[in-house]
């Protein structure tokens, strides 16, 4: 989703989908949120039935009631909450470092045409390097300390922010730019009142993408390297044969992912409440 600003056109699913424009009112059926709940319920039922009737191997794929029970047991252990804390700590720290670095470097690099062109090839080369490629060296240098997790998280999420900021900075309205110059705004004031507001929607998109990627890499690092956290808990559960618990942890990571996504969408809406893309939902 990096790149084409078209992707970040306003429209967040449901709102635009239900646009109450001048169209003839169609017969309204069941509300959307109910349908969504029905979908989730169907998934739970399916996971309950399929292992029981033998479509999925019961031994390795417990029905949802067992997963649910395992989850209920899990949330009563302090080990679980420590793991959630560890995962979130790595995620938040890594994301914070990557965001600050991405925004600052993005504004510096994007500020002049020369630096942009000079760094373009290097960025294009470094960005697609999968961050899991860093696992071996992270292990060698830091072992299972939090630094190895941070290295992966920061590397992966940094590019998401940087690329978006670079797009955002280039989006500055030339007229506004000239006006600011003509009125003698200094360098800092231009960044503050021109660059930053222009780039903010892009920054927010970048942050949202980075937050999702950071969570993936935090859990991956725990799983593969063995830093304390949900990933390690999952690896332990799987290797000790506690399969229902393994699935329960997968469900927890999914819920965390959804929460992170929702939270960042909310922050995006809140911080951009002044921006035209968020103000109206009028579809022209």
């Amino acid at each position: 989703m990096t790149g084409s600003p078209a992707v970040m056109a306003p429209a967040d699913g449901p709102v635009a989908g239900a646009a109450p424009g001048p169209r003839p009112r169609r017969r309204r059926g069941v509300p959307q949120s109910l349908l969504g709940l029905a979908g989730l319920a169907a998934l739970v039922v399916l996971v309950e039935i399929l292992p029981r009737i033998g479509v999925l191997p019961r031994e390795y794929f417990p029905p949802s009631s067992e997963i649910g029970r395992a989850l209920a047991d899990l949330v009563q252990t302090s080990e679980f909450w420590t793991s959630v804390g560890d995962t979130l700590q790595g995620w938040a720290l890594g994301l914070a470092i990557a965001s600050v670095a991405g925004v600052v470097l993005g504004i510096l690099i994007g500020g002049s045409r020369f630096t942009r062109e000079f760094t373009a090839s290097t960025i294009e080369f470094l960005r697609p390097i999968p961050s899991v490629a860093l696992i071996p060296i992270a292990v060698l240098l830091f072992g299972t300390d939090i630094e190895s997790k941070l290295l992966l998280v920061v590397y992966a999420s940094f590019w998401q922010v940087l690329i978006q900021v670079l797009y955002g900075v280039q989006d500055i309205d030339p007229v506004a730019q000239d006006t600011a110059r003509a009125y003698g705004l200094g360098r800092w004031a231009r960044v503050r009142y021109l660059t930053w507001p222009t780039a903010l929607p892009y920054v927010m998109t970048g942050l949202r993408l980075a937050a999702a990627v950071a969570l993936i890499l935090a859990v991956t690092a725990e799983l593969v390297i063995g830093n304390p956290g949900l990933g390690k808990l999952l690896a332990t559960a799987q290797s000790s044969g506690a399969y229902a618990t393994t699935y329960a942890i997968v469900v927890v990571t999914g819920i965390l992912g959804v929460l992170v996504n929702l939270a960042f969408r909310a922050v995006e809406r809140w911080s951009l409440s002044w921006h035209p893309s968020q103000r109206g939902e009028l579809v022209v």
């Binding site: 000079f118 961050s131 991956t220």
Partner: protein, 257 residues
């Protein structure tokens, strides 16, 4: 822009960085940071030598197989789901949930379900990179211009013709955005799936080198992974630029007007 200037801009920084690495590490005795010359030798002798066929090729084949499965399944499902409002509303939370699961956590589970063979790795890759493609396709199909859509209906363009001439082209910018995300997930999963149970593959070999403290080889393996990621991204860009030339042109025109 003159050619010299252009070359300078493109290769200037990479050359500076490489030179800095080369000289900074030239006489390095630090165990973890061997001289770049040693790393490059290892890259040439090992990774472009016997390991190319033994490890790199199997990895890439699994990656491509998994990715291909994901593209076919996700785009097909995405078109079906995106076309109907009710289906979309019903499935959206489920799909969002599956997308939110960090794909690598599926590896231990798929290990249980599908064993440790190539099949498991391909399934992991396909399953993991399918969600961004699927959700972007749904979004793209949903957002087909309503005037175009009504026009097609008026002219009774339905079925395959509608799909080929209206829905897929209209959704393709979004679909490509999903495909690009999916590709990077696929590369990650290619590596991760080989870390757990494998007898060959790029990820397997790199970790093997790391565990036996063959440092130069480990670094070389990381460079190889980086090169692979870069090449695939370039290839993808090439295809995208060809397929979406009309779209980029359209956007440029809209911007300048």
């Amino acid at each position: 822009m003159s050619i010299v200037r252009r070359l300078g801009l493109t290769f200037g920084l990479p050359i500076i960085l490489l030179a800095a690495w080369w000289f900074a590490s030239a006489n390095s005795t630090d165990f973890f940071f061997p001289p770049l010359s040693e790393i490059l030798t290892a890259l040439k002798d090992e990774w472009f030598g016997p390991r190319l066929l033994a490890d790199v090729v199997p990895s890439v084949l699994r990656l491509l197989a998994g990715y291909a499965v994901a593209v076919v399944v996700a785009v097909t499902l995405g078109v079906v789901i995106g076309t109907s409002r009710t289906v979309r509303a019903t499935l959206e939370p489920v799909l969002e949930f599956f997308r939110a699961i960090p794909p690598p956590v599926l590896v231990p589970i798929f290990l249980l379900l599908f064993g440790i063979g190539d099949g498991m790795k391909i399934i992991v890759i396909a399953f993991g990179c399918m969600w961004p493609i699927l959700l972007n396709t749904v979004e793209g199909v949903r957002a087909v211009d309503s005037v175009l859509s009504d026009t097609a209906r008026t002219y009774r363009i339905t079925g395959t013709a509608r799909l080929r001439t209206l829905v897929l082209p209209a959704a393709s910018p979004q679909i490509y955005a999903g495909l690009r995300q999916g590709l990077s997930v696929a590369i990650i999963l290619m590596v991760i799936s080989e870390l757990f149970a494998a007898s060959n593959g790029l990820g397997f070999a790199v970790v093997q080198a790391q565990r036996s403290f063959a440092i130069a080889e480990t670094w070389a393996g990381m460079l190889m992974l980086g090169l692979l990621g870069f090449l695939l991204a370039m290839l993808f860009k090439l295809v995208e630029n060809r397929q979406l030339a009309w779209y980029h042109g359209l956007r440029r025109a809209q911007r300048s007007s």
